[in-house]
Symmetry: none
Subunit: 227 residues, 4 copies
């Protein structure tokens, strides 16, 4: 249960930074940089622990131990335990969206975009395997963030579906139907992630099996195709 190994949640947080800001090799960090680094360390420690063991297991003691800091230091960076919880999902969710959008952009039509974004989501889970647990427990432990995330993501999805509809790439569904479809597609990603990538020791970054992509795409493409 001790959290001494690997202070930083993962290399992901480094990768996360716009590459220009990466600290030059072996220059001493400025105060601001060190502050930022500490906040990051805490954030990723929390993400790791919540992702692996759940919000209720993420005590300040555990988070700070993993971030190699004293307990008290936590409160220089976050107002409270709840405060850091409230930031987990928004930030990871935004990361996820960026990652997915960047990929989907390459597709030329609904089908291509949808497959690309579907694959991108599971890519992202390999980078950030804790995302799904952080998401699912957020409903109780960070409910505002959860709602915001869900409506945020669904809004994007709905817009995408409406654009596809306008381009005649999918069935002519009503707006309300489109919203429901968006939720179904979001749901699929979560459950398939859970089923096919879940519970992995995070070193073992399995890939989503192709037959899952096939099944999904058959259902979605045919299910939404103009008849």
């Amino acid at each position: 249960m001790k959290e001494r190994q690997r202070a930083f949640g993962s290399s992901d947080f480094v990768r996360d930074r716009p590459s220009g800001t990466r600290s030059r090799t072996s220059r001493k960090k400025t105060r601001a940089e060190k502050t930022e680094a500490n906040r990051e360390a805490l954030f990723w420690a929390a993400a790791e622990i919540v992702g692996r063991h759940g919000y209720s297991a993420a005590s300040i003691a555990r988070i700070t131990a993993r971030a190699k800091m004293a307990q008290g230091t936590f409160y220089n960076y976050f107002e409270s335990r709840q405060a850091i919880f409230d930031q987990l999902l928004p930030r990871l969710g935004e990361q996820m969206l960026e990652h997915v959008r960047a990929m989907a952009r390459e597709g030329r039509d609904f089908r291509e975009k949808e497959e690309l974004s579907f694959r991108a989501f599971f890519d992202f889970l390999r980078i950030q395997p804790h995302f799904l647990r952080i998401l699912s427990e957020a409903e109780t432990h960070a409910p505002k963030a959860f709602k915001r995330h869900m409506s945020n993501v669904s809004r994007g999805y709905i817009a995408f579906l409406k654009r596809s509809r306008a381009r005649n790439e999918i069935k002519n569904l009503g707006d309300q139907e489109i919203e429901a479809i968006a939720y179904i597609l979001m749901a699929s990603r979560s459950y398939l992630g859970l089923r096919y990538l879940g519970n992995l020791p995070p070193s073992m970054k399995k890939k989503l099996p192709d037959h899952v992509v096939d099944a999904y795409m058959q259902l979605v493409a045919d299910g939404l195709a103009k008849q």
Copy 2:
């Protein structure tokens, strides 16, 4: 935060009884009946609290307060706090399956059965509105029960899909694709439940809007139809 009112869930357990055995009005309960009633009271108090506030908020103090018992009494009925958590999902999950299966049985083909079972699921959520939260946090707080539930439900779903395939009512998918589809359909129910029935004061038993059923059935029926 005090838990003094009777758990709503408990009406369900009464409904659950074979109607012949319902205790005659104002007869004194036998010892065995009282024991059973207490266990039920604790169970539904826990279900209510977990469903509404999450597992970590379900302290023994809170559960027993809601069930109007002394704290120590809890341990006459359950070995530990974890023990009652481990029973929540299996029991509610079984209830859900029975409810859904009973409805689906009436359908004549894949499409009818699927729609009936889909509607039945949301019926069930109106009876047992805490089911979804109990399910989603179970991943961390009752992981064995969670896995068993998921594989239990998916097994049933997969069998249903294979039967439909054998009857030529749906596309000729491979076994692996069928499993993925099963997860997608399970996922849809959860997320749509969350979106359209979630977060309700449990008295307000909203119905799932028809356009959601439409959207779902269009996607699924066309998505799985023989082309």
Copy 3:
């Protein structure tokens, strides 16, 4: 930790009874006999548990479980938990004294009597291996019984020593010295018992090694002999 096996502390309690009163084979017990048997069962269950795990581990639940009774039944036989604790040492102590005295009686002089009683004590420990622990923790958990036992036993020992002194079988010690000697001899028995018979699974009834008897008798006989 469960105490289901072997309701009766040991065959000792049977052996304990004056042989005339032993219940005739397969006659139904009278009410009084049954009552008595229950009390005995509780007593020996308590002795066993205290002897093996200490007073603080001897909960009513554990005692009654071992005696195969309901918890509440305990209070038909003993006023309180403390009450049964207060009876353990007096009764076992009395048993011990009887056992030892019966043996010592056969000796003709100080030396013989002392050796016989010394050996008898360790005999007794094989019959009643829990005696020493019950004794040593009684100082805190049944202090009155402890004091009474100690003064009871020392009184007997002192009388024996004084008689030996009167018969010129030992040194001419003052009364105060005699008391100190009595404590030393009692002490020796306890510690040697602990060292050479202690911590045994009570089935393994080891015998006190002869060299211990030798050492003791050399010390005592020469130490108290007229010079």
Copy 4:
């Protein structure tokens, strides 16, 4: 039953310090010193309570109250209640041995050394009157420490006896007999301590009566003398 007064034992720990390091009057304690002082306060509070009322009466609440700390603070200094119990006997036992050895060193032969160490033991009991109870209940409440202490002390005693044997100062006993004798001598100290210094309000530091020393030395010296 409240534990508000300062533990008496703690004066001992002060006395224990090399005199040069004693904190100057009214200098503020450094953090490290305060930490050390707290640990000591807890230790001696526990020793006092265990010595006076037994291990099972030594609750964290009681210990911390006596040490004038919040309950939670305890766990900054000891891993668990058992942990502090496990330290009581080793530490007091070591103190005892040092005290006794320092005195015995002055003796020139077996007889002198034995008398000095005997007297030193009772000296020590006046300083540390809880030692005997801490020792006797340790058998059940800190069994590993108990065994280690016993074999530790007996080892020293046996070595002393063997040296005396080699110098022809005592009878030529076999090794096994020597071990038994060692236990007898240890036993005597305990029981005589209990009888003659026990149960005292710890302010009343009675001295062991001379006639007890006489009796003991007569028994031991003559009992072990070459005939």
